[in-house]
Symmetry: C2
Subunit: 143 residues, 2 copies
DNA sequence: CTTGCTGCAAACAGTTTGCAGAACT
DNA sequence: AGTTCTGCAAACTGTTTGCAGCAAG
């Protein structure tokens, strides 16, 4: 599905008249190879390790493109850094964030999603996205 | 209940050996008189209108104290500013955030809270707090 | 050759911090 | 008097932007 994502980005790029560059390819590769919730800084370091001469600015700019292309999603946790996660086709997941070790457990719950739809409908609200984060201590960190 | 909140803060201050100052009183008054989701900047301006000579830094410092004292809670939306909301005894509410006009509708849903507890339990996770934000367009903004 | 993309460094916005003087106890 | 608190301005951090040169189409 990595190929699939690359294709998605190419289609998007073509439709926008964007050019294909070494940097964007590198960043996309690294992003796709990465696990959930990379910060820009982390990604920048990984990209730099693979190929010299990619500036932070480009990483920032490119990540925004990925978001536009629907490949990535911004998430704001409480650590002052914007992080990006993969958008997995169709489904959505939420996060259990451990404040002890900063680990993140993902979960999905169809019922919660449905309830959200109901709540939105009740307020005449049209949902575009949502974010549910539960903070606390994971099983290892609760002593 | 404003008196009640002031008392809460005084108790907290006393227990921490903090001093009572004109600035802190002013900021607390303004915060309590304020509606949900004030940014530091907004609060700073309101405080300055009431009494000259209160610096931004003090507002920042004081808001953190309110959080520690359990009166306020930080919320991070997607506008680059940290906002603070009132902590209402016991109950918790979540947000429908309109990306059109930046208005915020609050809601509560007991069932969602229960589902969260179940999910957490399933992962051996101990919940400390959570945050559910639904982004989209409110009834006025959806055209 | 035209136009978009990049790296760099400077600019920014929000927040934090060091410090000298003011204020509380 | 002894400390804590404050305002100011400078420092910081994460992110954005202007621009000259580079590279893709």
């Amino acid at each position: 599905m990595i190929q699939e994502k690359k294709r998605t980005f190419n289609v998007f790029a073509a439709s926008k008249g964007l050019r294909s560059t070494r940097q964007r390819d590198n960043i996309l590769d690294v992003f796709l190879a990465t696990h959930q919730h990379v910060s820009v800084e982390e990604l920048y370091l990984k990209v730099k390790a693979v190929s010299q001469g990619v500036g932070q600015a480009t990483v920032y700019r490119t990540l925004k493109l990925f978001v536009e292309a629907g490949l990535a999603r911004e998430i704001l946790l409480h650590d002052g850094q914007t992080r990006y996660e993969h958008v997995l086709a169709g489904e959505h997941h939420d996060h259990l964030v451990c404040t002890g070790c900063n680990s993140i457990i993902e979960f999905e719950n169809e019922t919660i999603e449905q309830l959200q739809d109901e709540i939105a409908a009740r307020h005449g609200f049209m949902i575009r996205s949502h974010k549910l984060e539960i903070y606390g201590l994971c099983s290892r960190c609760r002593t």
